[in-house]
Structure formats: C-alpha cells, structure tokens
Amino acid sequence: MTSPSDPLLRLEQHVGRLFAAGVAVSTSILAVGLALFLFAPDAPAGSRLLDAGLLVLMATPMLRVLLSVVEYVRMGDWFFAGTTLAVIAELSVTVLSALRQKP
C-alpha cells in the first residue's frame, strides 16, 4: 500500500490496520478459549484465554485513541491532539477504577 499524502487518510489506514489486528488476535484467542472451556470447563487455561481475549478486545479501541494522539501531534494539529488527550484521560478513569475493584 502506498503512503497517502493526506495525513488524515494515513491515520485512517493506521487505524484500520490496528482494528484488523485487534479483531484477529482477540477473536482467535476467544475461539480457542471457548473451545477449551466447552471441552474442559474446569481447566484454568480456557478461562484464562477467555479473559485475555476480552481484554485484547477492550484494549483495541483504547490503542486506537493512543495512536490518534501520536498522529495528531505529528500533524501539528494541536486542537485534535488535545481532544484526543481528553479522551485518554477519561479512559484512564475507567481503567483505574476497574483495577481498584478487581480483588
């Protein structure tokens, strides 16, 4: 694929590749985990894989936001870099409060 001159289009292509990879990784892990769980419900490997697959799934859109802030800074588009940072701040509130609840 050629690198497009329009930086927004380049960001869109990076985002597309990230999503494709995130979906491929998380669904593969979930499929294997689900199969393990169905055949051996008591084995810890299955539920560990299921947890991992769901975490990758949740992390994918978060990584997209991180990727966007890098691209907007590279473009020198400070308004949208700031906007993206605000979203990152909101996501960290969620992640921190989830980590605090986890026993």
């Binding site: 869109e12 292509q13 979906v23 499929a31 769901l54 859109p61 979203v87 409060s97």
Partner: protein, 263 residues
C-alpha cells in the same frame, strides 16, 4: 451464538452495534439477568465497532475529526454510566430501555425522507467531509451543523451505552443525520468508530464487577462478528429509506415489550 449473529447483522446495517437486539434477546428469551445481558452486549458493541471500522477505511466515510471530538462527550457519558451501573435497579434499566428505544423509533419515522447533501463543489469546512456514494454514483459533500447538539447527544449516547449496552450509535446516527447535517452513511461509519471507545469507557468497570461472564461474552462476540459480515454486505445494497423503516419497526416493538414488562 445464533442470537449474536442475527443481532450483529441487524446492527451493522446502521452502525449501531447489535445491542438493541441482543440485550432483549439475552434477557427475555434466554432469561439472563438484565445487567449480565447489558455487559455482555457491551463487549459485542466493541467488537462490532472494530470490525465495521475496518470495512469503512479508505472510503472517506469515517469522519475522524468529528468522531474524536464527539468521543470526548460520549466517553464521559460512558465513564459516568459505568461507575453508576452497579447501583441501578433492574426496573430502572427496563424503563430506561423502553423509553430510549421508543424515542428513537418515533424520531426515525418522523425524518424518513430527509437528505443532507450539498453540491459537490461546496466546502465541507474543518469538521465536514466528502465521500463517494455507490447508491447514487456521485460525490457527497456535507458540513457539520449544531455542534453543541452533537456533543450533547454523544454524551447521552455514552450514558445509554454504559447503562443499556446498546452502543449508543442508535441515538447518534439519526440525530447526526437529522439535526447536524451528516449524511446517514457517514454518520453511521463515524458512529461505528465511536461506539468502540465509548463502550470501552465502561466495559472494564463491568468486567471488574463480574457482570461479564467470559464464556457467554466470547460466544456473543463471535456470533455478532459472523452476523455483522452479513449486515455489511446487505447494507451496501439496501436503500437508506428501507433501512430506516426496518429499524424503526423493530425498535417500536422492543420498546412496547419493555414498557409492558414494568407495568
């Protein structure tokens, strides 16, 4: 998995995520507690968002700037709903679900024939966009109007996403289309991108609170992804008016069923 597939197919049609169909199915048909149904659905919303976004890349349908700006509001709503979710009662969730689906059905029916397309030579401005539409075979240009309205609706969509597991695109898409001048397909693609981050703003909290049952969530995610492939294929061929009618009809039914549950 079959439920996930059907919900995914319908959801992908308008970039709304399959949750509006999956939540009532898991709750009413399978008999899962409403909060488990909501949290499970939220995981499928994230998956749908990622997959639909991959398919939209390169067609200029996703408005990355508008999406990122609105995500500030929708993620805030998602975080708020995620933090409150544990404290909400089931009855509150049923009423809220019935209200939201009924509202959207009415709204869609009242704006069936509106289009928001400018002349191809028009300037889309900083937040607007342009893309090539297969259906009409011409370039579509649009400007974004009433940004504060879009931000408010996105915040509400974030709350709806985190509390009802229905993506929230179902609110944003018709409103971005009807009030903010964004054509249906661009609104759907931009919303599909946004619902992933919006759902991810509350999903980790629900995961930590054990509302997400991993095997169930995995089956639903895999089912929705299979279904959304069909939905995307179909959406590329169907008329926008027909899509709106179909969706409004299903929503009205879902709303009536949920009001009936509480009353």
């Amino acid at each position: 998995m079959a439920a996930g597939a059907v919900a995914g197919g319908l959801g992908a049609l308008l970039g709304i995520g399959g949750g509006v169909f999956l939540v009532p199915f898991l709750n009413s048909v399978i008999g899962l507690p409403i909060k488990i149904a909501v949290a499970t659905s939220l995981m499928t919303v994230i998956a749908t968002s990622s997959v639909v976004s991959v398919s939209s890349v390169g067609r200029n349908l996703i408005n990355l700037r508008l999406g990122m700006l609105l995500e500030v509001a929708s993620a805030a709503g998602g975080v708020g709903a995620g933090l409150m979710f544990h404290a909400l009662s089931d009855e509150t969730l049923f009423l809220w679900f019935a209200f939201v689906t009924g509202l959207i059905a009415v709204m869609m029916l009242s704006r069936l024939d509106r289009r928001n397309v400018l002349d191809a030579s028009a300037d889309p401005g900083r937040l607007g966009g342009r893309y090539y539409e297969d259906e009409s075979g011409r370039e579509v240009v649009y400007q974004v109007k009433r940004l504060p309205v879009a931000l408010g609706v996105s915040a509400l969509a974030g709350v709806v996403s985190g509390s009802l597991g229905i993506g929230g695109g179902i609110l944003k898409v018709p409103l971005l289309n009807a009030w903010c001048g964004v054509p249906l397909r661009a609104a759907a693609a931009t919303s599909a991108l946004m619902i992933g981050v919006t759902a991810a703003a509350s999903a980790p909290i629900q995961f930590a609170n054990h509302y997400i049952q991993p095997p169930l969530a995995a089956a639903a995610v895999l089912g929705v992804l299979a279904g959304s492939r069909f939905g995307l294929w179909f959406a590329g061929r169907a008329k926008a008016r027909w899509l709106k009618l179909l969706l409004a009809g299903i929503l009205a039914l879902v709303s009536v069923v949920h009001f009936a549950k509480v009353l």
